[in-house]
């Protein structure tokens, strides 16, 4: 068996098989010492650089929101504590668990897509393939990745349903954005975050359809990584919002 064939056989999904930069060609990166040395550097930005500019900008804005909230909370702590008792912590925790689960599905989907792209590269580069002897890929990783992205979307849908139930309960009880300062921040922060969730769900649907149609190469991997990065940011922001709004005493 040639070196490429050995690499394909010994590769598992938990290794980082591909180092992809948005504009460069794919670089293989496995634990196999026979593969290129540049992998030992192992540095790459997942997805488009542009998505990182957007994500970091968004995080900066939300970082300012969190700080402003903490400042005004300190000025009128009794009002904030009293208002907080109206919130249902169970909804907040359930939504955190849903977003974490969806993030895990997305991580697994990215891993599958990466392996699929990698196996395509190995097949093309393998001399055995030219003789028609290359092993057929029977696991259909792109279909599995599409299923994982669909599951992530369903978790996002679950998050949305819980949020709508929560908003409905609040509004039915007469608690709106104008009720007081705490609820103004509550509705603005959770509303903006919910908008991110809705955009992320749209991205997940697009990626799911794209991956289901077939993974053609590095450009698809970069696309999936970019969408995944955005979705993880949505998860990350909620991880801070949950204790800040629902739990802090």
């Amino acid at each position: 068996m040639n070196e490429s064939g050995k690499a394909a056989e010994g590769r598992t999904t938990h290794e980082r098989p591909v180092v992809a930069s948005p504009s460069s060609s794919i670089t293989l990166c496995t634990s196999d010492k026979s593969l290129p040395d540049e992998c030992s550097a192992g540095e790459h930005v997942p997805g488009e650089v542009g998505i990182w500019v957007f994500v970091l900008g968004d995080m900066l804005v939300f970082g300012l929101f969190f700080t402003v909230f903490a400042y005004y909370r300190g000025l009128n702590i009794d009002l904030y504590l009293q208002s907080q008792t109206s919130l249902n912590q169970n909804y907040g925790a359930l939504n955190t668990l849903l977003l974490l689960l969806s993030s895990w599905f997305v991580v697994m989907a990215v891993s599958d897509v990466r392996n699929s792209v990698n196996s395509n590269v190995l097949k093309k580069s393998s001399p055995a393939n030219k003789d028609g002897l290359a092993q057929q890929n029977t696991s259909h990783p792109s279909k599995r990745a599409a299923m994982l992205l669909a599951l992530a979307f369903l978790c996002g849908l679950g998050f949305g349903l819980v949020k709508i139930i929560e908003y409905t309960e609040k509004i039915s009880a007469g608690i709106t954005i104008t009720s007081n300062e705490f609820f103004m921040y509550y509705y603005i922060f959770t509303g903006l975050h919910f908008l991110h969730v809705l955009i992320g769900m749209g991205v997940l649907v697009f990626l799911c359809l794209k991956v289901r149609a077939g993974i053609s190469g590095e450009s698809d991997l970069v696309l999936v990584e970019s969408g995944a990065t955005f979705w993880h940011m949505v998860d990350l922001l909620w991880i801070v919002l949950f204790p800040l709004l629902y739990l802090m005493k």
């Binding site: 400042y71 925790a93 697994m108 801070v240």
Partner: protein, 89 residues
């Protein structure tokens, strides 16, 4: 399916779920006891949240394999925002 459980992000994900459960308990059940130090509980909740954020960044967003500049920006965001919240609180 086996490859999912062998993925390095899976134990991190389990840790994040457990940390969420711990935060939930600290914020709801532990918070009901009257003689507790609420300042300590709240500070702990915020620190747990930002530790979770760092795990999400490094293992889910793959920042741990990103260039040093991106790793530093992400860590700086965590330190600055977490410190600001704890200080202002």
């Amino acid at each position: 399916m086996q490859t999912f459980f062998r993925h390095p992000a899976t134990p991190i994900w389990l840790l994040l779920m457990i940390a969420t459960g711990l935060s939930w308990w600290l914020g709801v059940d532990a918070g009901r006891e009257e003689d507790l130090n609420y300042h300590l509980i709240s500070t702990t909740l915020i620190i747990i949240a930002f530790i979770k954020v760092r795990f999400v960044m490094r293992y889910f967003m793959e920042v741990r394999t990103a260039p040093l500049s991106l790793r530093l920006i992400c860590d700086a965001w965590i330190v600055v925002v977490c410190s600001a919240i704890v200080w202002l609180f």
